[in-house]
Amino acid sequence: MSVLDNVKFDADGYMEDPNAWSKEIAEAIAKREDVTLTDRSWVVINYARKEYEAKGEAPTLRNITKNTDVDTKELYSLFPGGPGKLAAKVAGLHKPTGCI
């Protein structure tokens, strides 16, 4: 049994309903994607959730690096394998549409 058993995902692995997200789900998605979450990862995830709640979509990476103390280098080390996809997946958001 996994906390993900009752969570619906789209074909690319993003949560269908961002409002069904929880921290436990984030941990489980991260594990599935081979990402280890640290306190610094949570700075990114919490900011992404905050932006989603305010604007209804995943923030661009540039938005994240401009408005948190996580810079580009660190963002890529926190989410190796593509922070554009992974940060949104772990934060339970849809695939980001921004180009930057």
Partner: protein
């Protein structure tokens, strides 16, 4: 979960150094890194201006002989020959780029280096333009075309 696929690779050859042609390779390189794709960027001929310290933040857009300028930038050729027109159009374009939250060229190149993409200056073009590695942005390396082709094995390649 799906089995691990081999890492995707993208090789981009940037050959143009005008302001409008500097952004496509940078945007695509950055987008690829965002999606976890490995990126090698090879700057050749005028494209070298994009990674040359003294020039990267002074790139201009051509107003004469450029039929595809967006209406909001449009300047008739006969007006375009007046000194300062190119600089004015370039300033206008920089402002529009900034509105979309895309960084200026110098900052963008640094950002792409920080994402882990590899940046190379074409050796032959650099010899021709009397440039050395010191003239390039920190982190860029000088490379011959043959080596770049070799490292691009298995990669998707874009010539811009």
């Amino acid at each position: 979960m799906a089995e691990k696929k081999p890492a995707r690779k993208l090789s981009i050859i940037a050959s143009k150094g005008s302001l409008d042609m500097a952004y496509p390779p940078l945007i695509l390189a950055n987008a690829a890194r965002m999606a976890g794709v490995e990126v090698d960027l090879f700057f050749t001929f005028w494209g070298l201006d994009i990674i040359t310290k003294k020039k990267m933040d002074k790139l201009n857009v051509a107003v004469v002989g450029n039929p595809s300028m967006h209406p909001s930038f449009h300047i008739p050729t006969l007006v375009g020959v007046i000194p300062g027109m190119s600089a004015a159009a370039s300033a206008m374009m920089r402002k529009e780029i900034d509105k979309l939250d895309f960084p200026p060229v110098g900052e963008f190149v640094q950002m792409i280096i920080d994402t882990g993409a590899n940046i190379y200056g074409c050796k032959m073009s650099m010899d021709m333009m009397k440039l050395t590695e010191k003239d390039l942005v920190d982190g860029a390396k000088v490379l011959g075309a043959m080596e770049f082709i070799e490292m691009s094995e298995g990669a998707q390649t874009l010539f811009i």
